[in-house]
């Protein structure tokens, strides 16, 4: 049986990141956009953890970084959903195509 090396984790993270990017661009539901952002953050976390395990095995700075990324992701989700709620209250829709407040 072949051994799982660093490259397998990196390719998995790249796939997850690109799926997240596609979802971020193409979702029309604002909640799904937030989900895609979480997917992208998870891809970055997988990268950090793989590097920490395979290259930086003694100091594991990658694990510390992913703890920080998880913290920031939680804060981002809370603020993002609050913004979404207040947008929904004012526009009565979650369609991304109708959020044109910043368009001149």
């Amino acid at each position: 049986m072949f051994e799982i090396t660093l490259q397998y984790y990196l390719v998995l993270a790249s796939l997850l990141f690109c799926i997240g990017v596609w979802g971020l661009i193409n979702s029309r539901n604002a909640v799904r956009v937030l989900m895609s952002i979480e997917l992208m953050l998870n891809a970055v976390n997988i990268n950090l953890m793989a590097f920490s395990a395979f290259i930086d095995g003694q100091l594991i700075r990658g694990q510390v970084f992913s703890v920080f990324v998880i913290t920031v992701a939680a804060a981002e989700a809370a603020v993002g959903l609050a913004i979404l709620l207040s947008l929904y209250r004012n526009r009565v829709t979650v369609d991304m195509e109708s959020f044109n407040l910043l368009r001149w």
Partner: protein, 200 residues
Amino acid sequence: MNIAISTQTICFLILSSIVIVGSISVVLLENIVYSAFLLGGVFMSVAGLYLLLNASFVAAAQVLVYVGAVNVLILFAIMLVNKREELKPVKGLKIRKIFSAAICFGLLALLIRVDLITPWSLPGPVAIGEEATARIGEHLFTDYLLPFELASVLLLMAMIGAIVLARRDVPTKDIGTGNVVNQSLLEKPNVPILIDKSSN
């Protein structure tokens, strides 16, 4: 934690296929509630990948924060804004989708090429395995102390900001009649102030 290589490979293949299939379904499924629950599954299998990488603390943090907090938050958001609505057709949506998919495939090809041709300095030092949790604690209270404290301030700011943004301001007295306004949290039909008038 030492697992036989074949077990590790099988676990990796199962977990990564769950991650890929789950995330594709999160992005593509019509029903947003299914997407939210599948997102929880994706988070759980990412935690399994962390366990394969000998990182039990981060795996536990992933389950607690992502599955326990972020995913529940997303479900509550879906519950609060769940309205069946007919999306207005947008001109050129199909072309946009194909175009962005092409760009994403290009990005994917670039990333995979970088992953595979870069000479990573392998093999690195031997992983410390079970000691990882203690080492993370040492890092957090010595050389990463400032980011750690900043993270706590950031969480406080995010909490207050979320409360301020999501709160609905109700005046104590009705401006017209002077009667006391009902302050309960019942969903009242409120007047939207920013209705999109550009379409009609």
